[in-house]
């Protein structure tokens, strides 16, 4: 067989992680992006910078802080143990939480751009047509920002698939729980299993290319709006 069962398990885990993170970020990222696009608050700059931090921060730094926060003495750790969930590090859901932070800008920034591109006018028009602000969001802003949502989702998914440093810090390397594809490839290389590393790496290469191809092939269509 082309890939062995541990490789397939890693791929399945990676896809599951990326899908869950993308879904969570669609919900969490939307209000943040909306606020950043529409607000005139003086907190807009600082909040925007915080959201963008994972873009420039080394994943190991982000992972380190998240590890401390989720650890038994960190604020998230206190919360999770008080809720009876236990400690999050080295669990799948710990990985999900860390990835949500890590991929946040990849969801928020395209959405923010899409919301900003809509401008005030369509929202004002909707108001003069009796639509409440919430109604306006779902019936005007959301449909008009749909291309932005597609871009944001693809970028978030792909970025979550590609993470490595944060996974190692938070999730470690537990088969079926936290061992995602990027870690699996690392393992293969460490174990001098170059042919297996090759196959998995090729899968990632093809995947990444297809993602970008989708984005670029699709982009010209958005121009005519």
């Amino acid at each position: 067989m082309f890939l062995d069962s541990s490789d397939l398990q890693a791929i399945f885990l990676t896809v599951k992680l990326a899908a869950i993170v993308t879904a969570i970020l669609l919900v969490v990222g939307t209000p943040i992006a909306w606020w950043l696009a529409r607000s005139r608050s003086r907190w807009k700059g600082p909040i925007g910078a915080i959201v963008a931090l994972p873009l420039v921060l080394p994943p190991s730094v982000l992972g380190f802080y998240l590890l401390l926060a989720m650890g038994p003495h960190g604020p998230v750790g206190h919360l999770t143990s008080a809720l009876g969930i236990g400690a999050l590090p080295f669990t799948f859901w710990g990985l999900v939480l860390a990835s949500v932070f890590y991929s946040l800008p990849f969801m928020v920034q395209p959405l923010q751009n899409a919301f900003e591109a809509i401008g005030d006018r369509p929202l004002e028009v909707a108001a003069t047509l009796r639509a409440s602000p919430l109604d306006t969001f779902f019936t005007v802003a959301l449909p008009m920002a749909l291309p932005g949502y597609l871009t944001a989702s693809i970028l978030t998914f792909a970025h979550t698939v590609g993470e490595f440093g944060v996974v190692l810090m938070i999730g470690g390397n537990i088969p079926g729980i936290t061992r995602v594809v990027s870690v699996q490839i690392y393992d293969h290389v460490e174990a001098m299993e170059y042919s297996q590393a090759h196959r998995l790496a090729a899968v990632m290469l093809v995947f990444s290319f297809l993602v970008l191809l989708t984005l670029y092939a699709w982009r010209p269509n958005t121009r005519k709006g």
């Binding site: 006018r121 004002e124 028009v125 909707a126 003069t128 047509l129 639509a131 409440s132 709006g225």
Partner: protein, 356 residues
Amino acid sequence: MDRITARFHVNWPGFTLDLDLNLPGLGVTAIFGQSGSGKTTLLRCIAGLERAEGGFLSFNGEVWQDERTFLPTHKRPLGYVFQEASLFPHLSVIGNLRYGLTRSGVEQRVSLDHAIELLGIGALLERKPERLSGGERQRVGIARALAVSPRILLMDEPLAALDLARKQEILPYLERLRDELEIPILYVTHSPDEVGRLANYLVALEGGTVIAQGPLAETLARIDLPIRLGEERGVVLEGVVAERDEGWHLERVEFPGGSLWMRDRGAPLGHAVRVRIPSGGISLSRVPQQDSSILNTLSGVVEEIGDDDHPAHSLVRVKIGESVLLARITKRSVAALDLYPGLPVWAQIKSVAVAQ
């Protein structure tokens, strides 16, 4: 009668608005002024799109804004037409029309079919906005505003973004709205032609304050107000086509107090038309002129004499029956003819234009 009362005093950086208006609850009120005069801001304040702190606004006795109240835009029973049609790009024409309709509740003053018929957009319903011409887009925008069955229609320079041909395409529809809908229309414009053709009531703004307001014909004929539509001052008369002289291609337009022969524009008999008479196109005499090429000589009485902008000119208001003309003549002529209020005179009208 229903009325709109608006008091707005705003002092934003680089912009002030200081208005106290009491507008009629029917017909077209033109809010006229140059860009920067505050006319669009006034309309946006009335719509609730802009919030002028400390302002007051009531419509037919319902308070939309005071110290305690600020009715959000979506709860105000208005229709709004923006300068650019601003159709929703993700919806078809009919989708755009239904957007407001479905949210406007049970009260149907204007049916969707009526709005579609009024604006002549029946053939466009399935199209996407991107496949409409500029004029079609604006007609859909107007129909969309009507489909919410507004109790007042606010229009912000709806023709300004269109070329002359498109304007001529839409103006007749606007006249129909004025004549067929029983709701007030506030019409923001900087175009003298649109005021002359559409307005019943005029509010002229300059630098955020009202420099003149009143019924259109009356306000234009006031010597003490510096209101001009276009290059020179003049009045607008409302009349009907009363007679046609086919042989000479002329039509006679009857207005309260007299009638005027003018170039036949093909309007059917009985059709209402508006006629603009610029003050420079009128000469006055004490006796009727004979052997003149001038077709229209009306008898009237001098009401008031005042100064025009140039020291050589006077403005003379002449009452013709129930109507009023404004004639610009030289001060030397005023002296030579010895004109004074109460004197019967003959007004020779050289140029008459249908307002368009």
